[in-house]
């Protein structure tokens, strides 16, 4: 495999260039595993009490803003006072053996696949450490080697509405950057990654800790920050939905931008710059 990087010359479309640092690649693949374990074991934990509340307390007698359950032979998702039929997907579904189960999330979406709050907690709290340690290490390394400042923080002009709108239009028409421009993240990528790394990840960790009675004793300000343990649980769940949405869009963009090239760049660090379009 020849390396297309010509010494001294600006990289052009078709060149194979160095794109992702080792630390970025390692963190990416640890997270790829961790986030699926966290989401799927989290859904099993949710299954133990498939209701969400706002405030300090909340149990079966209290008003839930979201509830997944079943009535008769129908699966039901209830948000506020509005009910949606979710038979077969949520609340009432058939397991692998065709047996009807009345749990919120189905077997294929949870770890483990048959109901076990205890086992889901083992997975969730082990990988919570992986997530938290990884995030702190990434942030520390990224600040020291200036990856965050150089590659992720928006540059002057990039936050201008016209520039952002231009990028939105380009994405909508699936016209991704080519040539040397593809070396850098575009502003929508930057905003998405920043929102996840400095928004969702800290938020999901802090709301998770707010659910811990032990951490509440050490850091009671967490309860005030999120408005109570049950509010924190609701926000934690909404963060999980945010991660699911991010993963969906992320995988879609990988597919659209050329999965082989994208996956290679995240495995080996090498990326072939897309050829410039003949305009």
């Amino acid at each position: 495999m020849s390396d297309g990087e010509a010494g001294g010359q600006a990289p052009r479309g078709g060149d194979l260039v160095r794109r992702h640092r080792l630390s970025t690649r390692i963190w990416h693949w640890i997270n790829a595993l961790t986030i699926f374990v966290m989401l799927m074991s989290g859904l099993m934990i949710f299954n133990a009490h498939p209701r969400l509340y706002w405030g300090q307390y909340g149990a079966n007698h209290d008003r839930a803003w979201l509830q997944i359950g079943s009535i008769g032979d129908r699966g039901i998702v209830q948000i506020g006072d509005t009910r949606f039929d979710s038979t077969g997907l949520l609340g009432l579904w058939k397991d692998r053996d065709g047996v009807v189960r009345r749990k919120a999330f189905p077997w294929w979406a949870t770890i483990p696949s048959s109901y076990s709050l205890a086992d889901a907690r083992l997975w969730h709290f082990f990988f919570a450490w992986v997530l938290a340690i990884g995030a702190v290490a990434y942030a520390a390394i990224g600040l020291v080697n200036r990856h965050i400042q150089r590659d992720l923080l928006p540059r002057r002009g990039e936050l201008h509405p016209r520039h952002i709108w231009h990028d939105v239009k380009a994405h909508a028409r699936l016209r991704f950057p080519t040539g040397a421009a593809a070396l850098r993240y575009n502003i929508l990528q930057k905003l998405a990654y920043l929102a996840v790394i400095f928004g969702l990840i800290p938020l999901v960790i802090l709301t998770g800790l707010t659910m811990s009675p032990g951490v509440n004793a050490a850091w009671p300000w967490l309860l005030d920050l999120f408005g109570g343990r049950q509010s924190a649980r609701s926000i934690h769940f909404l963060c999980a939905a945010g991660f699911a949405l991010f993963i969906l869009v992320h995988l879609l963009m990988v597919l659209l931008a050329g999965p082989f090239n994208e996956v290679r760049s995240m495995v080996t660090g090498r990326y072939r710059l897309p050829k410039e379009r003949a305009e």
């Binding site: 009490h49 907690r121 951490v215 004793a217």
Partner: protein
């Protein structure tokens, strides 16, 4: 011919199907389980580092009380013995404090209710995810331990309960850091009433910085021990023994 692209594609497709059955096999693997369980010790040590041993759980006001305090787990212990105590208003119920103590105690409910008491409005967090706020009244556990004279080799307290849950007698255990915490009480009152049967009458443990299943209900004996190994199946509690719940339920 197998191309690299084709190989990656079919690996990805196959992984989806294999993942689930693979996951269940991984979940059942003893080595994996003990690796996952090792996080419990890390969590406990981390919480003990960030929280002082007497750091209090938040206390709430009367306006914060849950309208209905949910009862969970055993709501009505089976058996003629408990039923007779219930009908008699627990007049003959006795709490034993024994094991590694200098002076074993056998206390009636009247004696316990006449001891110095503490009332606290705290949040009860079930491992399932729900929370309820209640006002608890009871005797601080350290008063019983001081009266009994804990021996220096005692490391844990076992709470033997009057209920059976599914296949075994319910029991729980805590270490001495939690036992001597000022908010750790043996509660006989909930929301200014005597403790209802569903919530553990006549006596239950409140160990406020841990999850609900640690708060043993229907307590009839507190045993001081130097190790959890010889009690039950050795993991320190019913849920720990039979369902692999964490012994340290701080999260």
């Amino acid at each position: 011919m197998i191309t690299r692209r084709g190989l990656i594609g079919s690996l990805a497709a196959g992984a989806g199907g294999l993942l689930l059955s693979g996951c269940n096999r991984i979940n059942a693997n003893p080595g994996v389980r003990s690796l996952l369980q090792s996080a419990e010790g890390l969590t406990m040590r981390a919480q003990r580092i960030i929280a002082d041993r007497s750091a209090p759980a938040r206390e709430y006001g009367l306006a914060d009380l849950s309208p209905v305090f949910r009862a969970n787990g055993t709501r009505q212990p089976a058996g003629a013995d408990y039923e007779a105590h219930r009908l008699a208003g627990f007049a003959d119920w006795r709490l034993l404090v024994d094991g590694l103590v200098a002076r074993p105690l056998s206390l009636s409910m009247a004696q316990i209710r006449s001891m110095p008491q503490r009332t606290q409005i705290t949040r009860h967090d079930c491992v399932e995810g729900w929370s309820a706020i209640g006002q608890w009244t009871g005797v601080p556990l350290h008063r019983l331990l001081d009266a009994a004279g804990l021996r220096s080799n005692a490391r844990y307290l076992i709470f033997h309960c009057a209920d059976r849950y599914a296949q075994a007698d319910y029991y729980e255990s805590i270490d001495l850091i939690d036992a001597f915490h000022p908010q750790t009480i043996l509660a006989w009152g909930l929301n200014r009433q005597l403790l209802p049967v569903g919530n553990g009458a006549p006596l239950r443990l409140r160990v406020e910085r841990q999850l609900g299943y640690k708060h043993a209900k229907y307590v009839r004996r507190i045993e001081a021990v130097d190790s959890l190994a010889s009690i039950g199946r050795g993991k320190g509690g019913y849920w720990e023994d039979y369902h692999d719940y964490a012994w340290y339920a701080g999260i």
